[in-house]
Amino acid sequence: MAGPDTTGAWHAGGDLLAAYNDQRLDAAARWSVEAHLTSCTACRLQARALVDPARLERLRAALIDAVDLPRAGMAERLLVRLGVANHTARLLAATPALRGSWLVAVAATLAFAVLAAWTHSGPDANLAFLCVAPLLPLAGIAVAYGPGVDPTYEIGLAAPLPSFRLLLLRAAAVLATATLLAAAASLALPQLGPGAAGWLLPSLGLTASSLALATTVAPLRAVGITAGAWILAVMATVAPPAPSSVLFAVAGQVAFAAVALLGAAVLLVRRGRFESDRGFDTTPRFAARRLR
């Protein structure tokens, strides 16, 4: 019973503590009990005996975890807010491409392309935008995964999480980011009309084929080859009178959709190649990204 003990001191008593433990008290009563518990050892001991030790341990662990956990980085917090699971967010936050410099480069490139199209409004400026936009995710993928790029590449290979899943996860994040930025940039080019979306399918096609190629050569080289082939293709197909390329017409778009599907199929069939380092050059290229 709540009330004073033989020495005259007030104590919560077994009934009240039991009610508190069972969460049967209203807010005011709960706060009074808690205020008393913080100052009275006797009642605290009595209360502790009522609580299931396993639950107590669980609560304690949760509390320590919450208090001790370092604040996650900005990218990671943003991803979690977007609904990405916390462990996936950590995997993505470690993507070298998504750590600032690439984002800045993508935004700057797009800004230049848009600016050029505005100040120089003509078909060739539009063409430049369409040519540059698909290259941006490629640049990101080159620095998203692989030996010499990912500082934990080796540790990752020795870990059970399939490296292919990590690669896809990061490629998807890079592609999504670049696509969003390029889409925003296309909105700034109303004169292009529906043709402003002409970079999207080539972008998917180039990404898929560079990943497929990365099953044979190092990812960096795969991206280089794909980007080179794209630039050559655009240059070879540009035709007067108003400079335009068949690549952005219906035929070209269909072709790139096919390339994207084919690349995805090759990637799927050869995904086992990502599970060991054979054939890849493991010397680090970006010394600044690595700490020894």
Partner: protein, 290 residues
């Protein structure tokens, strides 16, 4: 004392990079406990450790680790779940804190249950003595601390097999002492293979030692047996003995010679380092003649 059953069986392992035979038919068994891997630079130590850590697939031969064959995808993934690997030059995501980095590797190790994972990350960081700096960014940590972060990630999930590539490089003597204590404790009931250039490391903590040279296994046995190779082959003299395979001037002003001693030489007690040098030195001398 009965010999424990081997946990790792390596047979005829071969690995070629271009024209270089990095591993040339290496065969050995490992038992639980710490095994030290010695060898000069370019001997193939890192290649061997990478194969055992399933990072590289060998060109030839077979590995059976913890009863699993890494050639099969499902067994390789099982093995990866039970092994800890510390690469020779571990890279870090510089902006991560020590905690975030180890947590990141824990995710790669598929410890998805968040709270249990965080507890495990704290445990391994405490184990290597970095509990207090876990919130610090890795780029703010000293070289020795970074190596301990790299070691911590290898310890995640209490692996049955630990593969450590030169874990003591760059550690100061006190850190090295702490490291030896930790690894010898980890070696109880686990299979630990570590490569090192420090023969003292092997003497201090390894129950077994292997010497790799030019892609071939030159010795496998106990540290005592390796030292025993040099018994009767180490002597001191006033001047450097021209007949010695290796000789150096010691602090006392005397020269320590290794090789075939002349008659009446002042023989010294052989150390593991003497045995190691004799093993390699003999090779260097014989090769041009062959």
């Amino acid at each position: 004392m009965t010999t424990p059953a081997p946990t790792i069986r390596v047979r005829d392992l071969a690995m070629t990079f271009g024209r270089t035979r990095a591993l040339d038919g290496v065969t050995f068994d490992l038992v639980p406990g710490v095994t030290g891997l010695l060898g000069p630079n370019g001997a193939g130590k890192t290649t061997l450790l990478r194969v055992l850590a399933t990072v590289s697939a060998p060109d030839g031969g077979s590995v059976n680790a913890l009863g699993l064959d890494p050639r099969h995808t499902d067994q390789r993934l099982d093995l990866r779940g039970r092994l800890g690997y510390m690469p020779q030059e571990p890279g870090f995501h510089a902006r991560f804190t020590a905690f975030e980095f180890v947590d990141y590797v824990a995710i790669l190790k598929e410890l998805h249950q968040r709270r249990a994972r965080h507890e495990e990350v704290r445990r391994v960081l405490e184990l290597v003595g970095l509990g207090a700096v876990r919130g610090k960014q890795i780029k703010a940590l000293s070289g020795g601390m970074r190596r301990r972060v790299a070691l911590a990630q290898a310890l995640l999930g209490e692996p049955d097999l630990l593969v450590l590539d030169e874990p003591t490089a760059g550690l100061d003597p006190e850190q090295r002492l702490r490291f030896r204590e930790l690894v010898s404790r980890l070696g109880e009931g686990r299979t630990v293979l570590l490569s090192t250039h420090q023969t003292e490391d092997v003497v201090a903590l390894a129950r077994h030692v292997m010497v790799l040279h030019l892609g071939g296994l030159r010795f496998a046995g106990t540290p005592l047996e390796l030292a025993g190779l040099a018994r009767g082959h180490v002597w001191q003299s006033q001047e450097r003995d021209p007949g010695a395979l290796a000789a150096w001037r010691t602090g006392t002003g005397q020269h320590r010679n290794i090789g075939d001693p002349p008659a009446g030489a002042d023989l010294l007690e052989a150390t593991l380092e003497d045995g190691y040098l004799l093993l390699l030195g003999g090779d260097h001398v014989e090769e041009p003649a062959a």
